[in-house]
Amino acid sequence: MEVAAASYVADDVDSCLKATELRLGLPGTEETPAAALPTPPSTPRGKKRDGNNTGAEEAAKTAPPAAKAQVVGWPPVRSYRKSCFQQSSSAAKSKPAAPEEKAPAPAPAPAAAAAGGNALFVKVSMDGAPYLRKVDLKMYKGYRELREALEAMFLCFSGGADAPAVNPSDFAVTYEDKDGDLMLVGDVPFDMFISTCKRLRIMKGSEARGLGSVKNN
């Protein structure tokens, strides 16, 4: 979050207050209040609220999602079943529109980025988490989207539902490449990364210190 200080120097108090107000977004951008407030989709999958569909999706990209805590394993649908829908959601569907057509089945990333072709699922582990996840690397256009999706996925392990957004310098995202080496995510172009990444690992705490807070590109 940037403090838009430089461009708001003014005489009256209001402007000064405004100057020190913390907002989302890059300095110099003037955002409408509606978009500035993170409109949290209730789930990372992005529920559509009336009349605010694109707004919700956009906000999801710029803010950590979900004010409401996601509960593990509820509703009680087997992960086998859920994962089957993740796989088929990337294929094009010829569906006559149902009256309440909504976003394709659950996916960890914005489902709008439907990819043709094969999915590229890799395992993601986070130190200390009880189970691993899988992500489809083809669903993301770049490192930022991937990082946000990972944050959303593993938010529940970072100290509780009400914890403030995870401090980025507390963890580093690494991956294992074709040679089996542990590499830091972000060094090579995204396309090259996708082709060499075999699995992801989110390292927490002291192990990550040395790698520094390489964050937000």
Binding site: W74, P75, Y131, L132, F157
Partner: protein, 665 residues
Amino acid sequence: MSTPHSSSTTSAPHRASPPQIPQSLTLAALTASSASPSSSSASGMRDAAEDDSDSPPSQMSEDDPGGGGGGGDRWEPDLRGGNGGGGRWAPPDQVLENVLESVLEFLTAARDRNAASLVCRSWYRAEAQTRRELFIGNCYAVSPRRAAERFGGLRSVVLKGKPRFADFSLVPYGWGAYVSPWVAALGPAYPRLERICLKRMTVSDDDLALVAKSFPFFRELSLVCCDGFSTVGLAVVAERCRHLRVLDLIEDYVEDEDDELVDWISKFPESNTSLESLVFDCVSVPFNFDALEALVARSPALRRLRVNHHVSVEQLRRLMARAPQLTHFGTGAFRSEAAPGGGLSVTELATSFAASRSIICLSGFRDVNPEYLPAIYPVCAKLTSLNFSFASLTAEELKPVIRNCINLRTFWVLDTVGDEGLRAVADTCSDLRELRVFPLDASEDSEGSVSDVGLLAISEGCRKLESILYFCQRMTNAAVIAMSKNCPDLVVFRLCIMGRHRPDWITRDPMDDGFGAIVMNCKKLTRLSVSGLLTDKAFAYIGKYGKLIKTLSVAFAGNSDMSLQYIFEGCTKLQKLEVRDSPFSDKGLLSGLNYFYNMRFLWMNSCRLTMRGCKDVAQQMQNLVVEVIKDHSDDEGEAEIVDKLYLYRSLAGPRNDAPPFVTLL
């Protein structure tokens, strides 16, 4: 309990008189058997509706591992009674034992066998030699060695591992339920073993290889909700189990070794095989289709085939041509791989289905192109089971299909068909016994496409309903009450209102009365899952009327520990209780002390339990294993709070393969 050892060869004097039946059926032995938790709690026939799996792994009834002696009771056969003598051993009669064994061969139900084994020592021995099928509902309740020592001639073993909540990511990875020690023990003991069924166990490729190596007559392998193996292990089984009849892989998590994808289908014997069932829709990696087609062609006994989603309709046609005798067919993706406009026509596909005169069960439809649905019309009238639960269909797409399915008994579907689709089901399928409605969007805040309206319609049209699983967002007491009256044969009632703590959406009342009516009116109910806003009153009903309930699942419900007390005191047949996120404390837990030996297990997570309460239980109940499971291996947070508790009766004591995040009290 000491294993009775055979003393028949030692001190049996020759008796001139005709052999008498040993009078060891004394009151003591009878009292021991009725006090033993095993025979009173062992259920009758198969636990058919236990889980979401498509076909249950076992056709057999439950066998309690403590069948020979029960939980904490020490059962000593009374050998001194009868025969008019005092203090003398009644010599086992070898002839009688042979007769006994011949008779006991006819006993198949485990409950009957458990009872028979308690009669006296010679019956115990005879039963142990003649039992062919062993069912162990909790792999940690008894050690493999002990089972191998007791039973002499097993042909079939069924093992269940992790608690059911593992399906919902509530049991951390690496918790346990490894099949390795079992395979290691069963191998030498039962070289004639033919059948292994596993549920929720971790099975490695090495385990599969050991199975293939240990059992030259192996016929049936069924893995349900298992994990840990890959196509490497499957290849070994295919190759080495030359008499394989059944390979059923159902909802397993199959490791996909991207680099090492093995063409396991090609490994089956090249001559005609004895395959009757091949189910591999959960093996989600691509496979060699030509090899499959050839395999099907040389498997004249094949009746059940379920392929994964890498199969197009064109390929389906080829399979059906090779196997016109199929009865159960899993159809893969059910779409064409060709560009739109090209590819198989619906008529051509329909011809294939018309030629498959024996099909009674259809599933698959993993990525269905609805235009192809009419192709199945020729078989609809004969269908008894239809699984559309991976097909995102609307009511309009469903109706023309379901209209033809007049003999349907089992129907699984997605909620995308809406209340309207369910009404169409109700209008046609008057013989329906089992219905499952799954949510496309399994999240708490989803819109929810089905509601009380659909449930009511089903209850009015499907009066013979026995089992229902229904996910929704809006429900009313009135609809549930109506179902309780319209469908008195219900054995399984699982209603999941996905939003937490939701009341009756019309009256805003808790859902107590609805579930109360179910337990009151459905007198055959053995399995119940509750949801929605529920107070202690609901559990008072359940305790009062749910006398046959064996499995109860509770989530986000109840006000106080009274709920647990009602359950323990009232549900005398309770075997499995799973609770999550409910305000129950140590007091509630302790109210179950007298009942834990009658149960297979208790699971509680995210309630208000503390270490003290759990330790209390562990100390007072010696034959219970009490596991406290932590989410993180580092102990952050208070050490007193217990997040996950899993306790179960066991003859084996605390297990030695527990990972660091499990504390055995």
